[in-house]
């Protein structure tokens, strides 16, 4: 095979890996949208907040230390201990569950029955609030996240492809792990929603709120549940992205990248989120590779949106979304 083609294949493979990470964020969106009809803009900030909490707990940071120092003139920064990764992950997951409960209790409960767009804007407000809150709590400097995931170039793939094609593929270990974890997560979520009692209740709510209420399903519990699951997915996404590029504000911008994924796949479909993520991941890498140099590069910023926009003009509900039926 020619050099150029092999290179394109490598780009595609890396695009697939990036796509998995997009899909991971998009998954959180889809879960909440299905269960409560809320388009949760705060998903990206949730991932950032979860990752910040994880790092903060792990390194024994004192929450709000900057604020305390500013008010009382003290000089405190860290507790004198380091927490093992696994306990820190559990603690961060616990914080996300608490967060889900607070969101349901203080925001969603009061907004039941409002138009969708109002709920959407409320989640934008929530995103801003959490952004400020997270920075105030843990500080806004760049943090490195290390929970013992393998990093760096994968030698096995390099050697194997080198023998096979005479050209070694560069794959990041972290990307491979992320793909495996994402696959596991999707499998676990599918099993949960298909076979467990709560999962069935969740699907019932997604199908029809009032019918679910009338057979005795507690809507509020389901909402807390689904926001907790979304918080957990956010934590996983936060760990992956955080390990890749550090925990900082730009992490929350992956939510913006997940939006075209959602549009492409359809807001209500879990497989749609995965496939949409892969298409966007591969598409933007290949586009940057093939056409980017001709028009100035950095096309990743907008390619996904324009692709989704063009796609939607022909299929307004996305690839796997439910057909939109409008009545007067």
């Amino acid at each position: 095979m020619s050099e150029q083609l092999l290179f394109a294949a490598e780009v595609t493979l890396n695009g697939l890996m990036a796509g998995v990470l997009y899909a991971l964020v998009a998954l959180g969106f889809v879960l909440i949208f299905k269960a409560s009809g809320i388009f949760n803009y705060a998903q990206g900030v949730m991932a950032l907040f979860a990752a910040m909490t994880l790092v903060g707990v792990q390194q024994g940071q004192i929450p709000f230390s900057h604020l305390i120092n500013a008010i009382f003139g003290t000089e405190i920064h860290h507790f004198p201990w380091h927490v093992p990764s696994i306990i820190a992950i559990i603690a961060a997951a616990g914080v996300m569950v608490g967060f889900a409960w607070i969101v349901e209790r203080y925001i969603l409960k009061h907004l039941v029955g409002q138009p969708d767009i109002i709920l959407f804007m409320a989640t934008i407000g929530l995103a801003y609030f959490m952004e400020g809150f997270g920075d105030l709590m843990w500080g806004s400097e760049l943090k490195t996240l290390d929970v013992g995931l393998p990093q760096g170039l994968n030698e096995t793939v390099l050697d194997a492809t080198d023998k096979l094609f005479g050209y070694g593929f560069f794959l990041d270990n972290l990307d491979i792990v992320a793909t495996l974890i994402a696959a596991l997560l999707v499998a676990a979520l599918t099993i949960f929603s298909q076979y467990s009692k709560q999962g069935r209740a969740l699907r019932a709510v997604a199908d029809d709120h009032s019918a679910a209420l009338s057979v005795g399903i507690s809507l509020r519990f389901i909402w807390v549940l689904v926001w907790s699951i979304a918080g957990f997915v956010a934590l996983v996404a936060g760990i992956m992205w955080g390990a890749k590029s550090g925990v900082q504000f730009s992490l929350s911008l992956i939510a913006l990248k997940a939006l075209p994924v959602l549009m492409l796949g359809g807001f209500t479909s879990i497989p749609g989120a995965i496939i949409g993520g892969l298409i966007i991941g591969v598409g933007e890498q290949l586009f940057e590779f093939a056409i980017g140099p001709l028009i100035g590069g950095a096309t990743q910023n907008w390619f996904a949106y324009v692709l989704a926009l063009i796609f939607l003009v022909f299929r307004p509900q996305g690839l796997f979304g439910e057909k939109i039926i409008e009545r007067v």
């Binding site: 388009f39 900057h66 604020l67 500013a70 925001i107 009061h110 907004l111 409002q114 969708d116 767009i117 109002i118 959407f120 804007m121 409320a122 934008i124 407000g125 929530l126 995103a127 801003y128 609030f129 959490m130 952004e131 400020g132 809150f133 920075d135 105030l136 806004s140 913006l256 939006l259 075209p260 959602l262 549009m263 807001f267 028009i295 100035g296 590069g297 950095a298 096309t299 910023n301 907008w302 949106y305 324009v306 989704a308 926009l309 939607l312 003009v313 307004p316 996305g318 939109i324 409008e326 009545r327 007067v328």
Partner: protein
Amino acid sequence: MFYREAGDFKTSYKDDNQTFPIRLDRAGYWVALAVAFLIIPFFVNDYWVNAVFAPFFIYAIAALGLNILTGYAGQVSLGTGGFMAVGAYACYKLMVAFPEVSIVFHVLIAGGITAVVGVAFGLPSLRIKGFYLAVATLASQFFLVWLFNKVPWFYNYSASGQINAPERSVLGVIVTGPNTDAWAKYLICLVFLVGLAWVARNLTRGMMGRKWMGIRDMDIAAEIIGVNPLMAKMTAFAASSFFVGVAGALFFSVYLGAAEAGESFGITKSFLILFMIIIGGLGSIFGSFAGAAFMVLMPVLLKNVLVGMMGWPTDLAAHLEFMIVGGLIVFFLIVEPHGLAQLWRLTKDKLRLWPFPH
């Protein structure tokens, strides 16, 4: 007691349909205009214009524009920052290419160019609705900013990639560039704001505005009673983009003086203006003003109180500002989804009866 309809007889349809039906409101309107035009210009200094008045006026124009699209025509847009960038760069190219033409025309033509771009990006709204459209407008935001960063023609091949406003004057008074007087900056923004607010008010209460509102409330039903959705949506995008483009042109030429697309017109600007119209009130001219004033004044106030009076570091104050803005948006959506404009309306209703209970 003083705020009442009694004794104010309307004898013609024109009287009946006026913007301020109550005498005290009308008086207040004229007094506000007189103060803004005849008194404040003599007292403003650089700090007040740069921190408060110029951003307030310019954001109010942008908020009016977005309110036309989102509040009146019901099409949510997250591309405002991108359209402001179109206005700014169009204005820059015009200012450089035709130095002998007055900047007033440059700003207005820049608005017109933005309107054309807005219509082009608004075309998909015929097929895409609701959230899908909101996300689709992000395409314009990111694409336009990328375009202005990557195509050197737009910034005249300057080494820094920035655009700098050359010095231009209106009626012999310098209004752009570093030598501008505070009052000139103030007045040019005010003139544009008052003119455009008048246009917006009359657009939205006329036939066009009614069509927009029909599309907003239910597009299929509106189509059945004879509103052409293509025309209604495209005019909404055009009018809205015109306002936003003018705001962008002023923001660059009069207020900033130098701009860089990604920094000055990024996605945060789109959200900022969206927040203005949510907090101010969707579908209300007064709401656009109130929201813009609120979002401009609150950070200034917070900064003065936290940094100036309590001695906090600036970054802490910025984080707290984020929290307060986010919290307020959620609070407003829960307590009063129609924003400050609705509170104002309720206050006026109460005032009509005061001090009597019925």
